[in-house]
Assembly symmetry: C2
Homo-oligomer: 190 residues x 2
């Protein structure tokens, strides 16, 4: 998606360890026009797949997921992060694995996911895929069908997206970065 | 706003201590059609006020703020909640007071608020007004003008909204609840 590449090149800030900061249009200040264009692109890619729910994870996935909910004309559900050990029994839960960290739990109220659901999981970033894998497992626990994922920026060099594709998960990313060099130059996958 | 009242009466769940749970359409699963209608209503109420930025607080204010950003055709900025004591000096910060609790700090990167900004603060709920007051103070620290607030559900019986109006803050709420009775009956202000 050329417009997104242009935005990344113009406003993205590269930090050491291949960190890309895009808080001027994606995850602190948000350009909702861009989110709507991304939603339109995802809608065209997923045309005919009968998606009836958008699922994301708080916080930074919510704006693009809201735009998708409007374009797909379906509800959005956002999973909540929780540190509570004693969860009520009316939620589905899963743990997002983080190496060198204890990770965190995510929950969705059982009443908002069902075997009738055909879900598009939406998020702002995909790196190693820990959050996405957790959202997929949580959806499966509800008996729902995960039609696929819609990602704004995929860090291809972290391999989470390609691993999921190998496992048969449909992952549509608006841009895939294959490298961020030390001088800040970014290579995008064609 | 009659459609919102109908939604509250149909899907809202009343719990002890006048707690209203509306997680089926406002703050877990979200009805973006309704958020867009609320945004249109706020746009018409704030017509001619030259709002150039929507400000909210993560998490549950984000969906309605995103809808407003689209209708007003301006960016949204969401303040972040933080538990970090050592904040960088490139953020504005303010503490959200909570009685019987230590409260929490909110931050916005300085680059996203300026004296040129004319801000509409948007949130899902307004009760005692602690979060809203904190967002107003944070905006003022940036030299920005707070044109007003747009609230989905105001708990009138908590008096935060009326206190702010007395202080000269424009607060537009889509519904104001004046009472939630023990039997679950809700009185709406005309």
């Amino acid at each position: 998606m050329q417009k997104l590449i242009d935005k990344i090149l113009k406003f993205g800030e590269v930090y050491p360890d291949r960190v890309l900061k895009v808080d001027s249009f994606l995850n602190h200040q948000v350009d909702m026009d861009l989110m709507s264009e991304i939603a339109e692109e995802l809608y065209s890619r997923y045309l005919g797949t009968d998606i009836n729910k958008i699922l994301t994870l708080e916080v930074s996935g919510i704006p693009v997921a809201c735009a998708c909910a409007q374009v797909f004309n379906v509800p959005i559900v956002y999973a909540k992060k929780t540190e509570t050990k004693n969860l009520p029994d009316d939620v589905y839960t899963n743990t997002v694995f983080k190496p060198n960290d204890k990770g965190y739990d995510i929950t969705v109220a059982k009443k908002f996911l069902s075997p009738e659901d055909r879900i598009l999981i939406v998020d702002d970033f995909l790196a190693k895929g820990y959050a996405l894998k957790s959202l997929i497992e949580l959806s499966k626990a509800a008996g729902a069908t995960v039609v696929g994922a819609g990602i704004v920026i995929e860090k291809g060099f972290e391999h989470g997206g390609d691993e999921l594709r190998k496992d048969g998960v449909r992952v549509e990313s608006m841009v895939i970065m294959d490298e961020i060099k030390d001088d800040g130059q970014i290579s995008f996958r064609n």
